[in-house]
């Protein structure tokens, strides 16, 4: 792998050809869509999973069916040393991480006044601290090779006043702040950091949103439908590819025009 991230196969025009991509929370929903599109675009894909073994097996199969190498890693990213171990495992297998996608997140529909310290800490531990630790672990190698792409999966609740659990919205707002600041700090070393503010997508966190809220979203969405995991994968693939050379520190809304 060359330090500027050029392909190990220069004739391959695919977005992520030869890149080593690490996706957190890859066993279902958006994460599975990201892994699949990354593989289709030529990346070898490592991903973390926690409780969903069936989903993890399915993701692995999807990646391998696309002819790419796959490295599933079971990890609880709420544990402080998990991020370091995950990145080390990928570096040990493939030498480096070229693109990191912080997708693993948790949500629960609990109103503000019922959220206690434990609930808040629990969600922050994964959604914010987990992503922070993954960035810190992966950025070291990226700086070393003067190339890296980080894409943090945020939410439209992170920066807009819409119905959503307060602790979840806070974790995503913080993640966007982390994105902008980190982009400024590591950009000079060839590491570009961006975030995607996702609307409601099939699979994953959609199940935590009461049905009538989902309907309200659909009514507001210019495309009148939920996003598909692969559609998030397409955006991530571009942001995480070497073709992205100037988008940095940005939060891209991926919501079918709901908040446009």
């Amino acid at each position: 792998m060359q330090s500027n991230g050029t392909s190990d196969n220069n004739t391959d025009a695919r977005l992520m050809s030869g890149l080593r991509v690490l996706v957190t929370g890859g066993s279902g929903g958006i994460g599975q869509g990201i892994c699949t599109v990354a593989a289709r675009e030529g990346a070898n894909v490592a991903f973390t999973w926690h409780g969903n073994k069936t989903g993890a097996d399915a993701t692995q199969q999807l990646v391998r069916d696309l002819g790419r190498e796959c490295l599933p890693i079971q990890a609880d990213l709420r544990e402080k040393d998990a991020a370091g171990k995950v990145v080390a495992a990928v570096e040990e297998s493939w030498g480096a991480v070229d693109a990191l996608v912080n997708n693993a997140a948790f949500s629960e529909a609990v109103p503000f006044i019922l959220i206690d310290d434990n609930d808040f800490a629990d969600i922050m531990e994964l959604n914010l601290f987990g992503a922070f630790r993954m960035c810190r672990a992966a950025v070291r190698g990226m700086i070393r090779q003067k190339y890296g792409r980080i894409v943090n999966i945020s939410s439209i609740t992170g920066s807009r006043s819409i119905a959503g659990p307060v602790h979840y919205a806070a974790s995503k707002g913080a993640l966007e702040g982390l994105t902008r600041s980190l982009a400024h700090e590591v950009g000079p070393y060839g590491v570009l950091v961006n975030a995607i503010a996702a609307g409601i997508f099939d699979g994953g966190l959609r199940s935590t949103i009461p049905e009538h809220h989902q309907k309200r979203y659909l009514d507001a969405c210019a495309l009148s439908r939920f996003g598909q995991p692969a559609e998030c994968g397409e955006a991530v693939a571009w942001l995480g590819s070497r073709r992205n050379t100037y988008i940095n520190g940005t939060v891209i809304f991926l919501d079918g025009g709901t908040l446009a």
């Binding site: 279902g28 409780g51 997140a105 948790f106 949500s107 629960e108 529909a109 609990v110 109103p111 006044i113 019922l114 699979g203 994953g204 966190l205 959609r206 199940s207 935590t208 949103i209 009461p210 049905e211 009538h212």
Partner: protein, 516 residues
């Protein structure tokens, strides 16, 4: 001399009527079924219907044991919902235009489709009159379901009845058509009105029933021996308890449906409510005060006097017999007429006990949230009601143990249900919500004694005819059933016949006798 005294005394004083007039309606003569005028009057803090048939004389029947409750219950009303289409014109006036005619004030919340009139019991309380000959064909069934879906779009529930529907040779095919056929997902729950014998005694049937995803709507009148011989003609207590054991073992979702007759099993109302609350598989309890129609009119009590249970009486008895379930918890279900349905929804606390929602939510919001529906569902109004109750409980200056328990219980429910670590499908969320809540309904059917056209007009419990008509339940039971040629082929036709709307639901000429 006497005449002189009378002249000196003047005319005798005018007498008042014995009751205060409250409203005018129409009803039928209990004897000849002719439609006649009726007055709703108030006397002795009770509500009565008075009516006079030119041929059979004066009739009076108690319609509510609590005049204050009755008048108050009428004050909460909301616009009904229109079906997508009506079947008959307004031609002769209610109740001779069924149905639904364009004047009917409510859509179908609870459709009932009778698929046979074959039964292996001859229950004295049965509101139909089984002739043991009719078995609906699959084509008729499809036609009925197709036209029902065309009229309503989506339905929260549908009830298959009879007869004993589980005795229909194509029972499971019918269920499959509703739940997995061309309208899959349109009818959310399929309930089977049953005595429970096949579930109790036929293991293969019970397992197939469970696998099919149907709900048992189980006739369940008592917890003690000696009552079923009166209500059902034969002792069934062992079979019923055997059925409950199978329901528990196979985890079959169930609605407990006691038919209650004053003096026979009305002393068990509290125990039946407690039984339903403790039965994990029971999603709701539907108490039906006995209506003296069909075999229940002719085969049980010669006169319903002394056996009638009015809505407030049921509330009162439940309060007296449970000691904790207050009558104030009951409110009319806004989709039907206030005298037809009352309900309470209960939520299971973390300690396993159920707490009625009216105890901790705003009543006005509660009534709005329950508007025009038979089943509790997640929507904006329900969410606002729950959020407001959480906020009010939490912000109250005095927070008692009860408030803490309610808040903790609501939180644990939300964390269990809307949690990305254990993502649930919409159907699973509905099931989890149902498992955490129960409903207690009182459904007061009318008979020829208390039939009130004002109640009929807002009926939302409708019999589904194979020709696409939807007949308000008590209208059909009292005025049309005995002339339905499916069951009584030799009966005189309905006269005057309801007039179909042109291009209305297409006809399968089964119940025919409808002029175009």
């Amino acid at each position: 001399m006497i005449q002189l005294e009378q002249l000196l005394a003047g005319p005798p004083p005018k007498r008042d009527r014995d009751a205060a007039f409250f409203s005018y309606t129409r009803s039928i003569c209990p004897t000849c079924k002719k439609i006649i005028d009726a007055h709703i009057v108030l006397r002795d803090d009770k509500v009565w219907m008075q009516k006079k048939c030119p041929k059979h004389g004066f009739f009076e029947v108690e319609v509510s044991s609590d005049a204050e409750y009755y008048t108050r219950s009428l004050s909460y009303t909301k616009p009904g919902t229109m079906p997508y289409r009506f079947a008959t014109k307004v031609e002769h006036g209610c109740p001779e235009d069924c149905g639904l005619c364009e004047d009917h004030l409510q859509h179908t919340c609870s459709p009932i489709l009778e698929i046979n009139d074959v039964c292996d019991l001859t229950c004295p309380v049965c509101i139909v009159r089984n002739q043991q000959r009719y078995s609906m064909s699959f084509d008729e069934f499809k036609s009925a379901v197709d036209l029902l879906v065309a009229a309503e779009g989506e339905l929260p529930i549908m009830l298959l009845s009879g007869g004993e529907p589980t005795l229909h040779p194509q029972f499971f095919e019918f269920c499959d058509y509703v739940l997995r056929g061309p309208h899959e997902g349109k009818i959310k729950r399929l309930l089977i009105s049953t005595h429970g014998r096949k579930i109790a005694q036929n293991r293969a049937f019970a397992e197939k029933f469970k696998a099919g995803g149907m709900y048992a709507s189980l006739q369940f009148d008592t917890l003690r021996a000696g009552v079923y011989p009166k209500t059902r003609g034969v002792e069934l207590i062992d079979m019923k308890m055997q059925c409950i054991d199978v329901i528990k073992e196979l985890d079959i979702p169930t609605v407990i449906v006691p038919t209650v007759s004053k003096g026979d099993n009305s002393d068990e109302l509290g125990a039946l409510v407690e039984f339903g609350l403790e039965l994990h598989q029971c999603s709701s309890i539907v108490i039906q005060p006995m209506a003296h129609t069909g075999d229940g009119g002719d085969g049980y009590h010669a006169s319903p006097a002394g056996h009638r249970l009015t809505m407030p009486e049921v509330h009162q008895l439940i309060e007296e017999q449970t000691g904790w379930f207050k009558r104030e918890y009951f409110h009319p279900v806004p989709c039907s007429h206030p005298s037809c349905y009352t309900a309470t929804y209960l939520f299971r606390m973390d300690d396993g006990k159920y707490k009625p929602l009216p105890e901790f939510v705003n009543i006005r919001q509660y009534l709005d949230a329950m508007q025009n529906r038979a089943i509790i569902r997640s929507d904006n109004q329900l969410e606002k009601m729950i959020l407001d109750s959480i906020t009010n409980l939490w912000s109250a200056t005095k927070v008692g143990e009860d408030s803490d328990l309610i808040l903790a219980s609501l939180k644990s429910f939300l964390k269990d249900t809307f949690n990305s670590r254990n993502p649930l499908s919409a159907a699973d969320i509905e099931r989890r919500t149902e498992a955490r809540s129960k409903a207690l309904f009182i459904h007061n059917f009318m008979d020829p004694w208390d039939l009130d056209v004002a109640r009929l007009k807002k009926c939302c419990t409708h019999y589904v005819m194979p020709d696409g008509r939807l007949m308000p339940g008590c209208s059909y039971n009292n005025l049309y059933r005995h002339k339905d040629e499916r069951f009584f082929p030799d009966a005189e036709p309905v006269s005057p016949a309801p007039v179909r709307i042109e291009n209305g639901p297409s006809l399968v000429q089964i119940t025919g006798r409808v002029s175009q």
